[in-house]
Symmetry: C2
Subunit: 352 residues, 2 copies
Amino acid sequence: MADARDVDGWTCPVPLRGHDRIVMGHGGGGKLSSELIEHLFVPAFNDGARIELHDAATVPVATGRLAFATDSYVVRPLFFAGGCIGDLAVNGTVNDLAMSGAQPIAMSAGFILEEGLPMATLAAVVEAMAMAAATAGVQIVTGDTKVVGVGQADGMYVNTAGIGMIPEHVDIRPGRARPGDVVILSGPIGEHGVAVLSTREGFEFGTDVRTDSAALNGLVGDMIAAFADIHVLRDATRGGVTAVLCEIAASAQLGIEFDERAIPIPPAVAAACSFLGLDAMHIANEGKLVAFVPPRGVDDVMDAMHRHDLGREACVIGRVVADHPGTVVARTALGALRVVDVPLGEQLPRIC
Amino acid sequence: MADARDVDGWTCPVPLRGHDRIVMGHGGGGKLSSELIEHLFVPAFNDGARIELHDAATVPVATGRLAFATDSYVVRPLFFAGGCIGDLAVNGTVNDLAMSGAQPIAMSAGFILEEGLPMATLAAVVEAMAMAAATAGVQIVTGDTKVVGVGQADGMYVNTAGIGMIPEHVDIRPGRARPGDVVILSGPIGEHGVAVLSTREGFEFGTDVRTDSAALNGLVGDMIAAFADIHVLRDATRGGVTAVLCEIAASAQLGIEFDERAIPIPPAVAAACSFLGLDAMHIANEGKLVAFVPPRGVDDVMDAMHRHDLGREACVIGRVVADHPGTVVARTALGALRVVDVPLGEQLPRIC
């Protein structure tokens, strides 16, 4: 694997040491479950405060609007170039919250583990989750572990849910798209899908492509600080940028036009797509967003994005029009127009 | 199966009709994913209000303490006597919130589906979730669906996360147990585990035992209204009543004594346990709670419980003592005392 973590170097803490692999009892609610929580999850996810284990975590909130999101992760393989299921699971839910303009305040983690999973693999995933959560500035406060038999899961699946507060005066949602809105893409596309695929299939090409998995709440915070009246934000995950544009066009019953030549596609991604017959516009990203901004805010938003590491290559790719409601139209490299539609499913299954 | 739902009678709405089984594309973020959301999840989970699909749901909250919990469900089989994975997934998370005294305000649902799962099975589970949520007075506001290949899951797994507000002046947590607290059990134990097991294994005995799966937030609300200073609440799920008592004894560093003869065990559960060599005190329940209440509140709490359908058979089973901290002691039918401990794992895997 191009970037697999060194899980062999992990040392199993006593009393997990007796089990270097997951057994059914780790999901049974008895001593083995308690030991997993006490010796693995709490040290990784807790910030050092004295905590009291309970069925639910308690989170203080102030009057306002809470954003609430969840995602399950079934990516295969568990570790791939530049990341793993752990950081993906944290970043994905943080990003779902950020697309409402919310900053995350707490997350949950639910694990479904296959009997026989090496304890070191679980530990590496948990460590990646803890690091990703610290980077995003959110704490994992509650969780759950279930174990299923051999052949009843593919190593492990992770669910995260998250809550975050939406700042006052911020109203970011698909229905707020308006004719004239400028469509901004935060950076180059296609890296996550190609990174997972090249690790999974052992391709020789594309091995220098790493996932773009990243928490976008910092970038979104800067964008909102620069111009609060952003209309729509959407991260371009499953279905890629195409799915985002088509869903918003359908949801707001407006047309969207974009310029194919404006879409930044890294050469290694373009090469992999060309070889495999994939369309980079359909490939999942895990650290890219599409923003719909009224013209008067575009300069401020673009400046804020360009100053942030995750928006340095932000670019305008199109605009919202009153014509052809519900339809997305691409201007091709030759200047022709073509209708763009979402595929039925996903070109690459189990990408997140 | 004793109480399997009639999934054959379910009619697949257009345009899901083209697929009577789950295919990979239903998790791909394209049109098939959208159709599943639009034609199955939204009609089932939405209360009729116009909704706008977004990465996160928005939930208004007031200043206070939010309870936040999650659970994944891997129960096998998916349908068993008296319930299915769907109502279990809703009730379990509602109960985790209720054990902090919280009333649920919103839930998420994350599905991991195995390719080939009959659409009618998914629909029956979703319908059961919707009914359970309505009964508990909570709405499922956000979700996610992933599909994995044949042999990479066992039909389907469900994750739920939930949030709820904890009433002011309520402080219910394991660390509040005090010597002298009276330990109350809300009703007969062992039904859930035996119901699942007898459906799973096709036993002739125990077939009249149905799961006790129920949302306890209404019962807890009544208990708090009768006496707000309840010290500890815990639902007796994985590990059964024994695990609850042992965890609280360890967490509060206090001793607990209970009377084995006081534990209500239905005859059919006792028969199944005797046949299989199981201990009913270790078996998972999904609608029973254990309450630790200071003596001055016991009469009010018991009265409130006896007036509620889910607490009609509530009984005092023991008390908290300052002796033998961290240890749970049972008084046997013969009047002898014995130390009670949690098992390493679970007697019955994949029970929830």
